[in-house]
């Protein structure tokens, strides 16, 4: 068995002294693991950082074997965002999210969205907006997609302002006004892609996806959303308030 594919590194786990088990998201082969000989060495360690793109060749005698990866770095982003607080938490959180996907199951749209997000991660507002959209996409890929096309109560397709926490369907402003305390706010950037979100809308977006991710994706697996997401959201909201670019070249405080 042998194939080559584009991949984004999700993480590594040490295997012995010199080798690592590499976990990647590939374009055509989904989330995939494999042994990298010499992966713990100085030559490959910079390449095998989460968020980097690489060309991987997987070889195994049988399809069900763990197999070996030969890795060639394509776009080494990790060095660029090590000092960028929101970016490093984002990559850690998104890699955790992608690990919820079943192994060896192709998710080309997820790959494309993840790659685009990583390429734009130095722009905090856009990265945050794409992260919320990515979380929605992940919910859909896991089988718990939200229906934001029409109001669950009236069928109206305009002025959608809330999401029902029970059904995961949109609710129009008029129909949901009486239950607004029980409904989740639906930020308009999830309906109109061209709109650039405010800090409040981003917070609403993260609250919306966080609620459903926790309920459908993490809790049933006995997992928690994790600190990385909370720190990412907090960093983004702080940058929105200060208008900072997020990139650091000076001491961390």
């Amino acid at each position: 068995m042998e194939w080559s594919d584009e991949a984004i590194v999700l993480g590594t786990r040490r295997h012995g002294e010199a080798n690592v088990i590499l976990e990647v998201l590939t374009r055509a082969h989904g989330r995939h693991l494999g042994l990298v000989r010499g992966g713990a060495g100085t030559r490959l360690r910079p390449v095998l950082q989460p968020g980097n793109s690489a060309n991987v060749t997987w070889r195994a005698r049988l399809d069900e074997h763990l197999g070996h990866f030969a890795v060639e770095g394509l776009r080494l982003r990790a060095g660029e965002f090590l000092n960028c607080r929101h970016a490093i938490f984002a990559v850690t959180h998104l890699a955790t999210l992608i690990r919820l996907l079943p192994e060896r199951d192709p998710h080309e749209d997820v790959f494309d969205a993840f790659e685009t997000l990583l390429d734009r991660i130095d722009a905090p507002s856009e990265a945050a907006m794409r992260a919320v959209v990515f979380e929605l996409q992940m919910l859909a890929e896991l089988g718990f997609g939200l229906d934001l096309s029409a109001c669950a109560a009236t069928g109206a397709t305009s002025d959608l302002a809330y999401v029902s926490p029970k059904s995961g369907r949109a609710v129009s402003r008029a129909a949901g006004e009486a239950w607004r305390d029980k409904l989740l706010p639906l930020p308009c950037f999830l309906l109109h892609e061209e709109a650039m979100p405010s800090a409040t809308e981003l917070a609403d977006g993260f609250a919306l996806t966080g609620f459903f991710l926790e309920r459908h994706a993490f809790e049933p697996r006995g997992l928690m959303l994790g600190d990385a997401r909370a720190h990412f959201v907090e960093a983004i909201l702080r940058l929105q308030e200060t208008g900072d670019s997020g990139a650091r070249t000076e001491p961390l405080s």
Partner: protein, 201 residues
């Protein structure tokens, strides 16, 4: 299955030696044979040194370093600046910094870095003890000497967030061209970091 060529004591010695880092079964056999040949000069002193170490070595209750005294030699050294704490992931990193003789400060050993893949969370590290030390009032600077990996820097940013309210200055090690390093052989990530953090001459 190959039959054993030595008695159970020797086989057990080989098995235990083979568990050491850098040693496989073949090199463990060589080491065992060497120890047996040099029984008086090497094996007996080594056995007594191992026994003494296993009895006396403890983890420092202040910084997490390993030493035969508690608090450790580093924490009780009056010549070290108590207002600066160097945060490292492992004792091996502490030893590396001490070899470099670059800083005369106190240390804090985290016991690893945050790693979602390995299931290492904040509660598995000594982050809470570090935050308590920082809030004790004597500390003015925290140097985060963590590896230039995504896990290492996630840990660094996490700690920075936790101690932000204390007003303590938080710094980290520079990322860039190593001494003796040639640009041609460096990876793109290191070069990008080095360019971003260039210094005026």
């Amino acid at each position: 299955m190959a039959s054993a060529v030595a008695g159970p004591e020797i086989e057990r010695l080989i098995q235990l030696l083979a568990r050491l880092p850098g040693l496989g079964p073949r090199s463990a056999r060589r080491a065992a044979l060497h120890l047996i040949k040099k029984r008086e000069q090497l094996m007996v002193p080594l056995a007594s040194a191992l026994e003494a170490a296993s009895e006396k070595i403890t983890v420092c209750r202040v910084c997490g370093n390993i030493d035969s005294q508690n608090p450790c030699t580093v924490c009780t050294d009056p010549r070290r600046d108590p207002s600066v704490i160097v945060v490292v992931a492992d004792v091996a990193d502490l030893w590396a910094l001490e070899r470099a003789n670059a800083v005369s400060a106190r240390y804090h050993v985290l016991g690893g870095t945050l790693s979602p893949l390995d299931g290492v969370g904040p509660e598995d590290l000594t982050i809470e003890q570090l935050v308590n030390r920082v809030h004790s009032g004597d500390v003015k600077e925290l140097i985060l000497a963590l590896s230039a990996t995504v896990d290492g820097q996630t840990t660094a940013h996490y700690i920075t967030d936790l101690v932000a309210s204390s007003g303590v200055k938080v710094t980290r090690l520079a990322h860039g061209v190593p001494v003796g390093g040639e640009l041609d052989y460096l990876d793109e990530g290191t070069l990008a970091a080095a360019i971003k953090q260039r210094l005026p001459l």
